[in-house]
Point group: D2
């Protein structure tokens, strides 16, 4: 395989493939042996080993947030081996009211995902959060509500 | 029913009943409609509504810690309606080595449980942790290991 | 000195003495060698060694909150050596608007202070917070605002 | 001024200038009006407005860590406007023993700093931490020791 130059377009296309759910597209950008590290100490945090585990994580995010996440690209950084996409993430817990101000129900953070590429596909990735967003990420993904009620199931 | 005076002995007996797993003993001290609030934002945190939910929590603690918890009573406070037991809790995650120093694998905290009693039984309870133990409680019960590995299932 | 029985009234009087700022009253309830442990990992957390250090902490709380704290007693627990006062604490950062919903500007928590008494005076004390209040306590006393602005010196 | 292409060498040189403490070198890479966002909720967290404030932060880091930090570059990402340096940070609190395992005394994290450049100089920067490093960053920069002792000063 010829060397494939990593471009901002290719990074965007990788995320679009993820969003499409189309297996062939996903396979073009995401290595089956990839791993992904979700920041924090909440229920979703830690290393997902393998693409299937990672896709399971993405699905779980959708369920817990009622697919409410709006991810707005800010900028994409590159070198020969890595990409870094700065993204603004806005989302709500499943069942939360859109006008809630609770950090346990609404997430509003800037993140960066650093993706390592090999042969044109992502082989490893890690996320990190700016400001005090890591604390808020833990609150948002916790299973307790503003008054301490445990989330169902 | 005549008024039952709340004593340190009765508080200790309530915990002993819990530990026994004997349903009749549990029933003597813990109201079926009781609720319990576990501090923090980790997987076990929040309100457990009903005695069955609370007993399920206790069982889960045992599973996740391989029944390693040593709870040492420090003192018991009382009034007509409430008890508060200060307790030193020492425990390890299931699978952790006993000589680990990781806050993700070993817990060593002082806590207080404030129990509200009605007709001689616990009807509501809340735990709280001294020092920076609440952060450590979140680390210990998180599903990530010292290097970010996700705990199995 | 004859043994002094610890009563709920005496505990309340100790806090009233603190609030009065009157040195003679403070001296009646708070031992000069007392120490106090503030929960969390924020700028005010940790052990205050000696009554002067503790009074300095109380003064700092007043400055940082513009004396806005409303502390509502819930119940007081006792035995021969310890008291435990459950208290609802509501307060705002200095400069914050009263209708803010930000956990970085408004604090709304239930706490317990466990006081150890000797010869009628408090010799040691530790605070602990119910629910996920310890996280919120760290946010409230942090020196960052909702958007990450650092609090002035 | 002609457009200056952002290179990995230029990013490295900017950090070297910082480390040198030489004002002329610093002035070549860091805009006087720059701002820097330190992640977390600890005593050093938040936005530093202006280069002088940022340099004050760097000096404070040196004091609190006894200049023990070892920062190992991992990779540098780029585009026309931004750089992102992934760095492994290892450091100890001033006074801590080098063989300590306490998260309150030793820091061992991977971070990324995203720098925004204008006219060849850094105008804005934000840090973010991988894994559960944000929690550990808060513990490390907290003013409490492993047993809750408050740090001097």
């Amino acid at each position: 395989m010829a060397t494939m130059t990593l471009t901002q377009e290719r990074v965007s296309a990788a995320y679009a493939a993820l969003g499409s759910g189309d297996q062939a597209q996903i396979d073009e950008y995401w290595d089956p042996n990839m791993r992904w590290l979700v920041p924090g100490s909440h229920q979703l945090a830690g290393w997902y080993e393998g693409r299937d585990a990672f896709l399971g994580f993405m699905k779980r995010v959708g369920q817990l947030s009622d697919n409410s996440f709006v991810m707005t690209p800010v900028t994409i950084l590159l070198n020969d081996e890595y990409s870094g996409d700065v993204t603004h993430n806005l989302g709500w817990r499943s069942g939360a009211k859109k006008d809630t101000n609770s950090l346990y129900e609404k997430l509003d953070i800037d993140v960066i995902h650093v993706l390592r590429w090999r042969n044109g596909r992502v082989i490893e990735a890690r996320g990190a959060i700016f400001g005090d967003g890591a604390t808020q990420f833990n609150q948002f993904w916790s299973q307790v509500g503003p008054e301490g009620a445990r989330a169902p199931g």
